[in-house]
Symmetry: D3
Subunit: 278 residues, 6 copies
């Protein structure tokens, strides 16, 4: 109950929290209603004085529209090869569909959320990752000024991670990576990944090896050892970088249960894995 939350509210009041919400959670129309539950959590955090910034991806939704348009996805080392047409599709889906669904879910509680693309006001600049990948971008610089003003005005920014180079060419940036870069640039208090796993394990296939806390060096070692793999790799790298850049803590939690974000941040029931110094 509320009284239990008080010390957490005191700690988080006025702090910026970057939350990465995975696109897969809401692909297929969100039959389980987890989007509404997530939106309520975000609004509640804001109501008690926390400053949430939401970052999202949308891989499944991009793949779905590509399929409808008869475009065959091509992957290299797990990364989508992104030609100009794929990029245009990705941008439409991320900015014009997934982003909108998150904004709408939050705004059911008031005039609170504003959707952004990394292209807006120079938020995210990008450079090409590898010539063979096309318009897949690495994060260049982050101009967090606009975000800071928006959260200071009590708005909740929802960010699609399309970046732009100096010449106006757009790039699709991995949302996990971008979330970490934004958290670092904002000097965020926390960076939270809502995923569909329970957290980080020390043994890849052993559920009982779930770690509740580790430091960046420990996480680096797990990546090198191969205990962290697949989609968790960019998350792990972003956690390590963000914490080393001054973010207080990075959390990887299971977003599939109701109000997971709220329970993690405002109650004694911490779940998942926390990465922090010491």
């Amino acid at each position: 109950m509320l009284v239990e939350a008080l010390p957490y509210i005191h700690e988080l009041r006025g702090r910026t929290i970057v939350v990465k919400y995975g696109g897969s959670a809401i692909a297929g129309g969100d039959p389980a209603g987890t989007l509404a539950s997530f939106a309520t959590d975000v609004v509640l955090l804001r109501a008690v004085g926390v400053r949430p910034v939401v970052v999202h991806g949308g891989g499944p939704q991009i793949g779905e529209l590509m399929g409808r348009l008869g475009k065959v996805p091509e992957f290299r080392d797990g990364l989508r090869v992104t030609d100009a047409e794929t990029l245009e599709i990705a941008r439409m889906v991320l900015v014009g569909k997934v982003n909108r669904e998150l904004v709408t879910a939050i705004n059911a509680h008031g005039h609170l959320a504003i959707g952004l693309s990394g292209e807006d006001a120079g938020l995210l600049t990008a450079s090409p990752r590898h010539p063979e990948l096309g318009f897949v971008g690495d994060v260049g610089s982050v101009d967090a000024d606009l975000l800071r003003r928006l959260v200071a005005e009590d708005l909740v920014p929802v960010v699609a991670t399309i970046g732009s180079d100096g010449q106006g060419q757009a790039y699709n940036i991995n949302a996990d990576t971008a979330a970490g870069a934004l958290a670092a640039a904002l000097g965020a208090h926390k960076l939270v990944y809502l995923t569909d796993v329970e957290g980080i394990r020390s043994e890849r296939d052993d559920p009982s090896s779930l770690l509740s806390r580790l430091d960046p060096d420990g996480l680096d070692r797990l990546v090198v050892a191969g205990a962290v793999a697949g989609g968790m790799v960019p998350k792990a790298a972003a956690c390590v970088q963000a914490v080393r850049a001054g973010v207080g803590a990075a959390h990887v939690i299971d977003g599939r249960s109701e109000h997971a974000l709220l329970l993690e941040l405002l109650s004694d029931e911490g779940v998942g894995t926390m990465v922090s110094l010491r």
Copy 2:
């Protein structure tokens, strides 16, 4: 030259100007480069202290994606019947494609533009126009607070005219109508429509009947008399309403020539038609 522009700069300094940019101008990839010319004009206005707000549509681009997805457009009284799927396509195209192209063109000059949908922070609420039209919306209320703050921070908002009702349902709103409502809510100094005609005529088919100036009553009469028709009707209605609501003047000009916006606002070479009281 600049000296000629001085009195206009004095008049417009610190004033908000809402500019409606038609989607058709940039359909098909903008081979003529009018988008870059338009973006330069917008940036220059901002540089001399004017506060531009850009509103845009994107009908041709919506039609194009519908076609690629095998969806047959259906019109009733010239309005697109918009079922849930059509709305999703319209939203993706307007917010995720056309809006992005405008933002990108302006941001070639710096970290200046920010793309918005009417759904952001309650900017535009909508109600259904007619049951048979599906998710075609009329403008309900306008919350111009966010726009005011953004222009005060020297940013150029670029608005896609998707509105939202109280329950989170999106609607596609006619961009001409929405531009007028935004101008009225902002207490804008001017509302400018960049079109592909030379202005408003007193005789529909007589180019020599082009009117350089008229008042809202006169424009009303032209609509009733049928001299104004087709896509010009919602523009005319929006001009009349905006001017009656306190907007200083509404302009309908030909956006096809280079730097049309600049010439209209900052030089003696006024073109097109101006609607204002007396």
Copy 3:
């Protein structure tokens, strides 16, 4: 749980709530710990953005020190006859003891509370109620400027209701009455009396006649009819005046149960009696 509180937090955010805390609750050293529970409630309200102002009395504590000093209290119509020595004792007890205990309890959570007397910065001016009562005062004017600045700085003012006339003479003002006057002057959203009864009854001796809601006229009628009596009379009068002066609602609730204030304000479990228009 927190999610249930969300709509209440939205409603109360940024609003001022005047809470009258009775001295009797904490006479005798507060063995039951209700002071700590009350302080937690106040701090939590502030944490979620509410602006609480606490007003308190201290009749039992005044009587206790008078007894130790060999001073025999004298009452006329239920009001303590207050000679110069009694006034000095009352002021010492209210400002130097009860007020301090409240400030201390709240400040266990941080640097949050500031104790005030009505004499500070002209907060409460007083005039004598009746020559035979000595330094018993009626509220003259209220200068709420200081309170407004303190709450705007996120501090919790705790007010002892000693007033001052123009010449520097102090008066003891009934705390229930003063709480209502402060709520009215602040344009408070709510005025809450924490008492040791369950609320207001339509039949004085019939617990089943507890009223959950009534309007100022109805409450006036109950006073005239004698259903409201004793210490509830000044509370009732203050509720009526405050609501008529624009305070959103006045609540009379039972402060003896844990977290009564929080449950009343932030959950669906409203208790006690609410007085409001309509």
Copy 4:
């Protein structure tokens, strides 16, 4: 006359001056009217743009109430042994009586003064000086934020020097010591002790050895040599520490003559002893 004061006003304008006013001056009802004279001086300083902060003690008044309550004071090394009951009495007297008298005297000129205890908003934290002394406190930390805001709002804070430890336990702090700590924390321009002696002497019993100016090292030597003794020792220590911490000058003057404070600060007639670097 005023013209003589002009250079002093120029120097002091906008500066904070901490003035320690001894409780003994106003014990017994202030028959000589020195309180009103002192209050006028404070108000005049504020009127010409100085920012006075008043700190006070109240030993005689505490002793008097203890006597009336049949409590026998016990001293060890000149310090009052302070059990829980004594502390409660001291707090009532300081916060609820002496502080009130000062606030009232100043507020005879307007809504100017606000009474504070060191417990308010964490102003003074305390730690026990010695187990045998009970609740006699040393100054821990000073949070001068609140004071700064109050003086910036043109209010005159009047501070009773009760401090609080982290757990809400109150302590009685020597007012001379606390005044110095507050002056240092505020970065005050001057610290002034109004006493009942003429200043500091180089020979304890030789009136002709009155010093008009000395530096902290010199004062330290006098303390070691025993020329400074009794109640002057904490004042001397506070002067030394405050000046070393950056306070411009510390003054020990005779508060028994009319408008002593004003004459010291705003005229060529400096009296008493000034401690400053060089």
Copy 5:
């Protein structure tokens, strides 16, 4: 002494006082040192929180330079006929000599004064009084914005009363009249004329008929009756208009005695004549 000044300081604090200083007082090099005394008064008023605005003339000095340049002054109805050359001389003398002497005298006390002409930032616009008088101007509009900002920044504006019409033509405006117009536009608390007479008399030649107080109607009657004559007529008219426009009081005092301004405003020794409602 200062204590006597306290209630006056309280009354005048933060208030704007327009003081007209006659040029004749300082013609011939100010052998008596009245300029330094006046400057001290102005600086002291500012030091205690008053906001003085100084307005000055300079007739004798204009005449003197005209004489040196061999120009014969010509008067019509007591007003100097002002051709283009005379205007240029007047402007040089007022703005470049008398104004400078006042600024310099005040700035001997710090970086306090700033000299202005009515031409600066549109402070005073003028229209010709009569074709035969040439560039003698009546006050058109007053733009007191700049003055307000300067006094809010604690500067002392010193105004030479040259006005300008819309086309950039300068006019010499009577300083008495301009002082009244400025006082009215500023919503000044007081307007003070420092003259070389003792005040206004009810009988022109009877020193014993000096009036200490009268209202605008009474002053109007004296002008009509001829008791007020010569250079006092524009002063009287300006007093009447200023008081009717909301200025609290207008004073005509004898500026020849030392610190006349200070004594009038900050002590019980009011001298001269005060014009106010009731």
Copy 6:
């Protein structure tokens, strides 16, 4: 046209530009209208967000009035020997005539300009250059606070370069030198000298040796070599000092052609000589 100016406007927006306007350009009544052209340029710069500060001299005009008053000018090493009477004449002419003409020309476009002397608010303090030169001053300190506030309020300060020592004695300061000192104190972006030559030459008498760009060391060498001489020497010294003190660039351009200032600053047609690091 405007579009060409855009990158320059972007660069200069919000920047302070100090422009030295020579008195000789407008001696004799400005028959060629260059003053109006200059004023338009200044107003246009301000309109596009630049913050111009104008500094001027007036040697010919001083000489002319001296002549009319029968005063024979005396020069030593090209500097006017300035006795008390000459200083008074110089001050009248600079502050009361030349300054006024500039203010008036600018204010033909609105309430924009405010005339200042270096004596105002301590803007320029001066010390005597050489006993034999009398009241010819070197720049002592610059208090640019007032200028900063005025330009921040969108006003255009026009500065006559009379300085004052601590005792209120005025001095005539070379306007070229003062302009450089003001630019340095303001941290100006540019310092521009409008002269009657085309720029700086590497060979004194060879027009084809005009330099378009050089650095401070190079300019120093030209002075030493004698290629720079006469009135250009103080300009050159001021350019060198200002650029070394952090001013972005110093320009010496020909002010005789129309809109020279505007062309230099806002178009690709740079003229004259630019001095900057590297």
